[in-house]
């Protein structure tokens, strides 16, 4: 019998290297932060989302009374306001927002297979009034229900004449706005009625293991959002070099709002990080804050769109800088996590 001693480590008890420990160790302390995040960041953001959705609904009704250039501009402004509020809470992808596909129904993006455009075209072509009620519409494909579909309608090249020449577009637009309002109201209601109580008692009923488990969910939202901004919102646009920039891969290229989205995302993520700051070691916190500030400085000088990166090397390089700075921020955050026991995932991130 051949025994390969070189790989043999008999008699181990616990073999792991010594790690740093969590700075926050009590459930009470975690709950205090989680509740602060809930009451000062999450619920206010969902309240804003609901308010913006009411404004959007009203603007769609006003526009559809008599489609004109002015009222279209007002509706577009309401749309952008709605998008801004969504971007401020887009990173929360757990809890009520995941019920009934609400997250995908508010915004289905990235849409690599072109689902939204294909299905929206089919719905417009069929012009079926039977789907234009809340029950039926909520069961339609996510591709026609949310912000991406609305952007296609409001920012089409000939949007105004499209509306003036196609009687189906206005009721469809109003229905999308009503649907977004229904969802926004539903999410807010669930947070107020149910999920805030979960935050107070995260292990009650087994929704979370404990308060730390819920905190990890918030921190995972931060980390995953940074990855998404870097890998989905920026990298596919930047391409390999200046001549290969692809602004139409951007999240809101039709409304020229893609970089504005990122500006809002980063503000929200910074606020979230600051709330959990005491969970991390001072040096790591400083590195993360410096990374946020550098990024914010670059973003402050950047336009709201990514399209300008196509015609300007300065704007292209700025986009590259934003990408690099988000990567630095992501790395700083990962390094900070490594100093703690807060593991965001192993099997969930890279299983087989």
């Amino acid at each position: 019998m051949k025994v390969l001693r070189s790989w043999l480590y008999l008699g181990f008890t616990v073999t792991q290297t010594v790690q740093a420990q969590n700075l926050i160790t009590s459930d009470e302390a975690w709950t205090q932060i989680n509740l602060k995040v809930t009451d000062e960041l999450v619920i206010p953001a969902y309240e804003s989302l609901q308010t913006a959705s009411i404004d959007l609904q009203e603007a769609s009704v006003n526009f559809c009374k008599l489609p004109a250039a002015d009222s279209l501009r007002q509706l577009q402004a309401a749309y952008l306001s709605m998008m801004d509020t969504w971007q401020s809470i887009q990173h929360i992808q757990f809890g009520p927002i995941t019920y009934f596909n609400w997250n995908f129904r508010i915004q289905y993006w990235p849409d690599e297979r072109g689902t939204s455009g294909r299905q929206l075209d089919a719905v417009i072509s069929a012009a079926n009034p039977g789907i234009l009620n809340t029950d039926s519409f909520s069961r339609q494909s996510v591709g026609i229900q949310g912000l991406q579909a609305l952007e296609r309608l409001l920012y089409a090249d000939m949007a105004l004449s499209d509306y003036q020449n196609n009687d189906y577009l206005c009721p469809l637009t109003e229905m999308i706005a009503i649907n977004i309002n229904e969802i926004s109201s539903g999410v807010l209601e669930r947070w107020l009625d149910e999920y805030r109580q979960v935050v107070i008692q995260p292990d009650s009923g087994g929704v979370f293991e404990d308060a730390e488990d819920l905190s990890i969910e918030f921190l995972k939202a931060l980390q995953e959002s940074l990855s998404k901004i870097r890998d989905q919102k920026l990298l596919p646009i930047i391409g390999e070099n200046y001549s290969r920039v692809r602004p139409r891969n951007a999240e809101s290229w039709r409304s020229q709002h893609s970089l504005a989205n990122i500006k809002t995302n980063i503000k929200a993520l910074q606020a979230l990080f600051m709330a959990y700051m005491e969970a991390f070691y001072t040096d790591d916190v400083e590195a993360i804050i410096i990374a946020f500030e550098a990024l914010n400085t670059t973003l402050a000088e950047a336009p709201d769109n990514m399209t300008s990166a196509q015609g300007s090397e300065v704007n292209y390089e700025r986009l590259q800088t934003v990408h690099a700075q988000i990567d630095t921020l992501h790395e700083a955050f990962e390094n900070a996590l490594k100093q703690t026991d807060l593991y965001l995932g192993f099997n969930s991130l890279d299983g087989d």
């Binding site: 008999l10 792991q16 019920y99 026991d341 593991y343 099997n347």
Partner: protein, 380 residues
């Protein structure tokens, strides 16, 4: 009635397990059980580890460093030996002794082949079968079943043959209770080591479940899910004594689609897809990590690491029973009157389905920086 108010039933009223329950003794049996699993650590080292439970607590027996991540650990029917296998697209395999921990043999995949992390012994222990990728075969499907002879005297494995898996991306394979039939989960996803872990055929993938004659490789039966679920990669399976299969799926299509991620099957019948209640299904993120029957063969557990959740099912009627929150949970094995499970945070726990009681064997603080990998195996 609006869509919002239509669904006012609380999302938080499902039976949720493990919230309470008195401390109890974890069954230990007459001889101590040896649990085996692949694991990684925060230094990016990879291991196969064995442990036992003493006084309800984790006690490590041995660890072997591995060249890369392994996936499953498979027991020889006599329970004296184990094999651990590299996960896709790895090429190493390691044969060891269960009790002593001695490593007996390191093996490589055949040329132009890599493993998918799973294997199974024949009931007589003479042969070992591995799911493999013949990645440079340009003709037809790439899936292969490697056939290895186990030499009891030399305690070694030698590759002697291979069969077609009748699909692409064969993943878990098992021996049916008749001891002559292998069942193979062909995940349907084409990969190539040059593209690392990239999935190359998502739009046209066609997973299937295949039964073959283990001595000849002859195809006995092939089953697929409905065509609308062609992106549902059939990945992990378990079988009970009455030859019923529990099936775990990973869906590669649109994230908003509600697709069955659990199914059961009996030979000669269609695959029976099962859906969890919306409250649970909406959390699963189209991914089930592993699946395992309990010792009675009636109930099974499916681990859902992206949902941080174990789900429990009744195989007899296909009913969803309940769920248990466990962060990054994936490895599961039948033990006592329930299951032992492992997590990517280092935690190990025993859940007794009769008593609805949960007992930690090791928590994250005890095994700080250790990440248990996809599967957990027990030798009793």
């Amino acid at each position: 009635m609006s869509a919002v108010h239509m669904h006012r039933r609380s999302f938080l009223t499902l039976t949720l397990l493990g919230a309470a329950g008195p401390a109890f003794a974890i069954p230990q049996g007459s001889e101590r059980a040896v649990f085996l699993s692949a694991a990684s650590d925060s230094d990016s080292s990879h291991w196969v580890k064995a442990f036992t439970i003493r006084d309800n607590q984790f006690e490590e027996l041995y660890s072997h460093r591995l060249p890369e991540r392994a996936h499953d650990v498979v027991l020889h029917p006599e329970k004296q030996h184990y094999v651990t296998i590299a996960r896709r697209p790895g090429t190493f395999m390691l044969l060891g002794e269960v009790q002593s921990g001695a490593v007996l043999q390191e093996l490589d995949a055949a040329p132009q082949r890599h493993f998918y992390g799973h294997g199974v012994f024949s009931a007589d222990g003479e042969y070992f079968y591995t799911s493999e990728n013949a990645y440079d075969d340009t003709h037809g499907e790439h899936g292969r079943i490697g056939v290895w002879h186990f030499n009891h005297t030399a305690c070694s494995l030698e590759r002697v043959n291979e069969f077609y898996s009748y699909g692409i991306g064969p993943h878990e394979l098992l021996l049916m209770p008749d001891q002559e039939t292998l069942v193979i989960a062909n995940g349907g996803i084409r990969t190539h080591p040059d593209s690392e872990r990239d999935k190359l055929n998502i739009d046209i993938m066609q997973p299937n479940l295949v039964y073959i004659e283990r001595r000849t490789g002859k195809l006995l039966e092939m089953q697929s899910l409905l065509s609308e679920y062609h992106q549902a990669s059939i990945r992990h399976i378990d079988v009970n004594a009455s030859s019923q299969l529990a099936i775990a799926v990973q869906f590669e299509g649109d994230p908003f689609l509600r697709v069955p991620l659990i199914a059961t099957h009996r030979r000669g019948e269609a695959i029976r897809p099962l859906m969890a209640p919306e409250q649970v299904q909406s959390q699963l993120q189209q991914y089930v990590g592993s699946i395992c029957f309990d010792n009675s063969g009636r109930y099974f557990v499916a681990s859902c690491p992206r949902a941080n959740m174990l789900t429990f099912w009744d195989a007899k009627n296909g009913e969803f029973l309940s769920q248990l929150r466990a962060r990054d949970v994936c490895g599961v094995c039948a033990y006592g009157k329930g299951f032992v499970f492992s997590t990517g945070t280092g935690r190990l726990a025993y859940f007794d389905i009769e008593q609805n009681s949960l007992e930690n064997i090791a928590n994250e603080q005890q095994l700080r920086g250790l990440f248990w990998d996809n599967h957990l195996t027990v030798s009793i």
